[in-house]
Amino acid sequence: MNRIWSTLKDLRNYPSAIIGLVIVLALIAISIYTLIALPYDEAIRLWRGSEADWYNVPKLASPAWFNLFTAHDQPETIIVNSQDEGVDKTVTVKEETTEISIPLTFDYPYEGFPQEITVYFNVQYEEKAPYISVRWFTPTGEELRVGTVSVEGSYMPYRVSQDSKLQRRLGDEPPEIGLLADPNSEEPVALPGTYTMQVSAVAFEPGSDVDAELILYGQVHGLAGTDHRRRDLMIALLWGTPIALSFGLLAAVFTTLITLAISGIGTWFGGWVDEIIQRVTEINMVLPFLPILIMVGTFYNRSLWLMLTVVVLLSIFTGAIKTYRAMFIQVRESAYVEAAQAYGASNSRLIFNYLIPRLIPMVIPALVVGIPGFVFLEAALAVLGLGDPVLPTWGKIINEARSNGALYQGLYYWVLEPSVLLIVTGLSFSLLGFSLDRIFNPRLRGL
């Protein structure tokens, strides 16, 4: 314990170690925050991406901070619902009909155009559907007829952006541009100001009612942007952190401990035990690691925990066993081991209480340096399409981005965000591990 404490003190002399340690702690903090703020079931449900969860989120939107680098501010999503407090919905009952007026007013402070404009109608009627018409008022006071809506069913979207009649009326401009464009500007920019979409409905039945929700899908969304299924990438980025960390840490810790134990047993007993361990190691080192992992993933199941088990099993008998063996042989000869033997300590006591603890400080650097390898391995499996079927992970984002041509379409954020997190995680552990290595291996300290 003292040894570990003094090591931590030594770490202060290595700026790279401090950077690494700070990042590792930050990642752990993010993981804890994620587990509390976004419970597992909630995250899984959201990531499954049902229509109800994500209908009001734009598709393939860049992160909001992109606006810092663009000439024209790109809009975020604007949602105006007739049930909102600021909306002045009026219902006038006449002899046979009811007139419903919904002015959907919103501020549009951006110069870029929205991705898409859709109005979701929630209509209640029994036999005769209400007649709905939509008009548009620009900040300059101009009035435009948008169109009429033929009601089918009770909940239906009116996709303004796909209205080809409207597009013809706007001089062949797509509606999301034509409705918002600044008429006095040479280049196509939106005119900032207050717009109103006036929804007027005439209902023919007493109990009939109309509600509308106007959505101007933005070009940017949140801190992370969205993917092709309108899901907020933040969920996967957040959840990827505890998954990547736990996979890397568990794999590294189990591999190291089991390797230590086996190597210790082999060295202590020597003879045929040692011989077998050596031969198994030589064979295991030449086995095709990833193809075997891929086979297990394809034929059994892709759960993260099965993968973890197989990864650990295949990583036990590696070169590390030989390195530890060399160290154990030295330790075996020390006087305190001899003393323990003299008082009659059992073999297991000697191995687990005398030999292995002696090596633990020595293998910690290797353990820490080994973590990024496992983190990247998990990501690699996901990139190959063998990621865990339910968990949102960083590798899965990269996989989906690649298979949807993110790089061809210039959607760099989609690939960059998980990649940057991966490299930051990898670098932090290896910075830390390298410094630990220098502290524990004084031979390297001067070099």
């Binding site: 790279s16 590294a252 591999t255 190291t256 030589e282 064979i283 080192m285 030449v286 086995l287 095709p288 990833l290 193809p291 075997i292 891929i294 086979m295 297990v296 993933g297 394809t298 034929f299 059994y300 990583s315 590696t318 070169g319 590390a320 030989k322 390195t323 060399a326 650097p365 290797a366 340096v369 080994g370 990024p372 390898g373 496992f374 990247f376 391995l377 990501a379 690699a380 990139v383 190959l384 399409g385 063998l386 690649r402 790089l407 061809y408 210039g410 760099y412 690939v415 990649s419 991966l422 490299i423 990898g426 670098l427 290896s430 910075l431 591990g433 390298f434 031979r443 390297l444 070099l447």
Partner: protein
């Protein structure tokens, strides 16, 4: 996974020589044959493990038996004549047909016995027929599908690793000469970047050079349609730049740092000081007093590195759409084409073993203990 990065002291195992000093050639031959046998044994075990996993330890047979039973049942029920027979007679006919079918598929023998048959087939590359995939010549034979992809994999990995080895070696020697300089410090600072694998750097390289700058292709091996004559090779060379760079970057800094440290340790030996005192040139000292004794260890280290790199090949080829073995395996996963997945694993087992053997052979050639035979004097 962690071993290759830290351990520079992994000394290769050298066979014990008891007495006498046989000629260099016979020593080399003996060493090589022992290694070859051990590696072949490794391949056999690897392939057998593959078969066990692929057959889920015999579960596949149960599924096959179930399928046969169902098919025979439907066949018999569809037959009007058999349908009119009494139940007992009909059941007897069904049982008989199932037995014939199982015998035809070899299912009457226990799995353990048959697994050895599979092993023989796999070792002789008799890999069966693909379920979904075709070779470019239109064949369904897994062997043809995979062997067709082999050259492109070998071109990429051979080239990348060859360049990587020499660049790293020279960079390490250069740095050990300039120990403590700015370049040296930069390389040390960059060593942790090697924690990211080649495919990861590949994604960044594609993003920068293909998507943003648009100077190099996104992936694939040649332009489509492939140019004729010399243009073909130029096109391949252009497509090779990014994946090769990715492979080199992923190992360069850490390996350079490790080897440089290793050279430095050896440079402080007395006999090097002696050579310096004699006034030998730096080149001579490096070649004769530093490189000679370290080369065997360097090669062992490189072999370990290569083993990890081979695993990365699968993902790197997928990222770059490189039409090699790795990509074939990726496609097979997507199509759930079991025979191709198993076949790829077998081929990879062979490739790894061959790589290790080649490096072992080089090791034997450069290691004086094997070559000249001073092993007897070593304790």
């Amino acid at each position: 996974m962690s071993d290759a990065s830290l351990a520079i002291d992994a000394q290769g195992e050298v066979q014990e020589e008891e007495k006498g000093r046989p000629s260099t050639l016979s020593r080399l031959a003996r060493y090589s044959i022992t290694r070859l046998l051990l590696l072949f044994f490794t391949v056999v075990i690897g392939v057998y493990l593959t078969i066990l996993i692929a057959n889920m330890g015999g579960y596949v047979d149960e599924i096959r038996r179930g399928t046969i039973r169902e098919e025979v049942g439907i066949e018999v029920m569809a037959d009007q004549q058999l349908k009119q027979l009494p139940t007992e007679e009909r059941n007897a006919i069904i049982a008989e047909r199932i037995a014939i079918e199982e015998q035809r598929m070899g299912l009457d023998q226990p799995f353990i016995l048959r697994s050895f048959g599979f092993l023989k087939d796999a070792l002789t590359l008799n890999l069966g027929f693909a379920e979904e995939m075709y070779s470019d010549t239109g064949s369904r034979q897994v062997k043809l599908i995979l062997l067709e992809r082999l050259p492109s994999t070998l071109v990429l990995w051979g080239l990348a690793n060859l360049i990587s080895f020499f660049i790293t070696l020279f960079a390490a020697l250069f740095l050990s000469r300039r120990y403590g300089s700015v370049v040296d410090k930069i390389v040390i600072a960059l060593a942790p970047t090697s924690s990211a694998p080649a495919w990861f750097y590949g994604i960044f390289l594609i993003l920068i050079f293909a998507a943003l700058l648009q100077v190099l292709p996104f992936g694939a091996m040649v332009d489509a349609p492939p140019p004729e004559g010399i243009g073909y090779y130029l096109s391949v060379a252009k497509h090779l730049i990014l994946p090769t760079t990715a492979i080199i970057i992923s190992s360069f800094f850490l390996t350079t740092y490790n080897w440089r440290t290793f050279f430095l340790i050896y440079s402080s030996e007395d006999y090097v000081e002696m050579a310096k005192a004699k006034g030998l040139s730096d080149r001579d000292i490096e070649r004769r007093y530093v490189l000679r004794p370290t080369l065997p260890t360097i090669i062992t280290n490189f072999a370990l590195l290569l083993i990890t790199l081979w695993s990365g090949a699968i993902i790197l080829e997928t990222v770059f759409n490189w039409p090699g073995l790795g990509r074939a395996l990726y496609q097979a996963i997507g199509l759930y084409d079991t025979p191709v997945i198993v076949g790829s694993t077998v081929i990879y087992a062979y490739l790894l073993a061959i790589t290790v053997f080649l490096l072992d052979f080089v090791y034997a050639v450069v290691d004086p203990r094997v070559r000249i035979g001073s092993e007897g004097t070593r304790s």
